[in-house]
Symmetry: D2
Subunit: 174 residues, 4 copies
């Protein structure tokens, strides 16, 4: 892996498309490649599609696969696109891998929609993966979150910091 | 009803949106109003949302309701937005209403998508409803179809004329 | 020319793009081809780019060229994309060509914009060219206009019918 | 200024819109506000429009104004949207202001275009302004550039690092 940034895709809303012939809505091709081609970025990147699932359906085996692929990467800067519902859980499963800046992002609306947070989030996450020190991060809602202290607020449809609890497990980066 | 054109919406792919909190894909608000507001059309229109269903789920009672609303309209030019799967069937259920130009349209991709036939089809159908004589028409794929001689080819995802059969029922406009 | 519809492009706002290297805004490639490819229309078409001008810059020689190309077409259904400022003037220069339905359209916002009337107008005009009898028509703002009785209201940025004048020249189709 | 991020807008391609009534292309309202409203970011922001110019037209007095507004800000994280042609020059004019992370971004295609780098660049720059230490940075083409070592390659339409020159002035952050 000689690219500056390694992108692993796992599915989630960001990659959801609509299949009229089936009258349903499924995970399609990774959308991030189309975004990167439109923007003419000045870094090299490689995309690896490892799963195509709604994040509510991800199993422990799926998370082990994501961890394995991140660990196997020869790249130190790794972006993972992922469904939002269990993004924090997968992020925590990526703790403890040395010398890697790992950033997870996704979107609340599919990238194929006219109005979507997907392109913004991809831009935001790609800056995080280049500027942050080694560790695991959630990049959503225009902010960087520590996965060990973050949850998705489903009612408000935003990520938020979990209020402090003196007994909580320590961050990967602490 | 004093508007130039009466728009009845019944649901279908054209109005499908994605609800991330539910992680599913459902019929949302009629999209045609948003389209008409963006374009600054020089005719008056009124939108009436009568159903919000995938057209595969429409019942005989639903079709009777559509016919009742079309018959009750004080407008002679009526556009019906509808799912594509049973659009021809609903169109045929609107036969025999005098003095009305009734055009059905919809889309193969949701209107909220960046790439969709929805806006094109709405423009096309709104010309048909103003230029065609009384009768019932399907306006899809950039063509005007006679519902009594048309079917949706699901494999190719296009509407097409059914090859002639001397014993077929006559068109509403014949 | 064996296509169902012959499209002649002359430039205008619909085809305007932005060239950052020049820091200016110019007529680019005809946009209508991209629109037709996205929609999967069920008719055949051929595009001929004959001019790339803002319509305020069109000369009598340019209009003679448009008339010559329309007259030379072997197709009876002809769509002309054109700038809006002198669309009515060009339309009138196309009067008296027998056996042809000629429709002019364009847009008030460039087709490359997120919010534009271009796709709607193209859909609308393509229905007009298939449904209207021989003659010359303006298809703008979701309405069909007679070029001999129409003007662009620049202040309101819409096309409108010129109030009746008993001494006005007769329509091409009267 | 109590917002997390202070956004100063100066014009440039990112804010260019098309005025059909004038048949020309000018700097419009700042587009970044619309982008931020669509994305539902979880930080507070304030937008201040200080100039509306193509960056080739910026004068020394304009740059002095930008510096004055940055220096006057009570916010430590400041994003400046700017035309690309002289972005590096303005960035260098912002050197030496203590305790501020200042990021300049813009776009090669207007934000109102269907295909534009604007939303990606805004997302990227907003991560930079939150993650980078005090200093002045260019965020373009998906990379962070040091304004004292960067130029816009107009032929290739990308930003690039100027090859090392032992006698070059030192970076603001060195």
């Amino acid at each position: 892996m000689e690219a500056d940034i390694h992108v692993l895709t796992t599915g989630g809303t960001i990659d959801k498309v609509y299949f009229d012939r089936l009258s349903e809505y499924q995970i399609g091709e990774p959308q991030i490649g189309q975004v990167l081609r439109e923007v003419h970025v000045a870094f090299s990147w490689e995309i690896e599609s490892i799963l195509r699932k709604d994040s509510l359906e991800l199993t422990d085996a799926d998370r082990a696969l994501v961890r394995e692929r991140v660990a196997a990467s020869r790249c130190r800067r790794i972006l993972v696109t992922h469904g939002t519902d269990t993004m924090c859980e997968t992020a925590r499963a990526l703790g403890g891998l040395p010398d890697r800046t790992i950033v997870l992002t996704g979107s609340l609306a599919p990238a194929v929609f006219k109005s979507s947070d997907a392109v913004f989030n991809i831009g935001f996450a790609l800056a995080c993966v280049q500027t942050l020190p080694p560790g695991v991060y959630i990049a959503m809602n225009g902010r960087v979150f520590d996965p060990w202290k973050t949850r998705k607020n489903r009612a408000a449809n935003v990520f938020e910091t979990i209020p402090d609890d003196p007994g909580a497990p320590r961050s990967d980066r602490a």
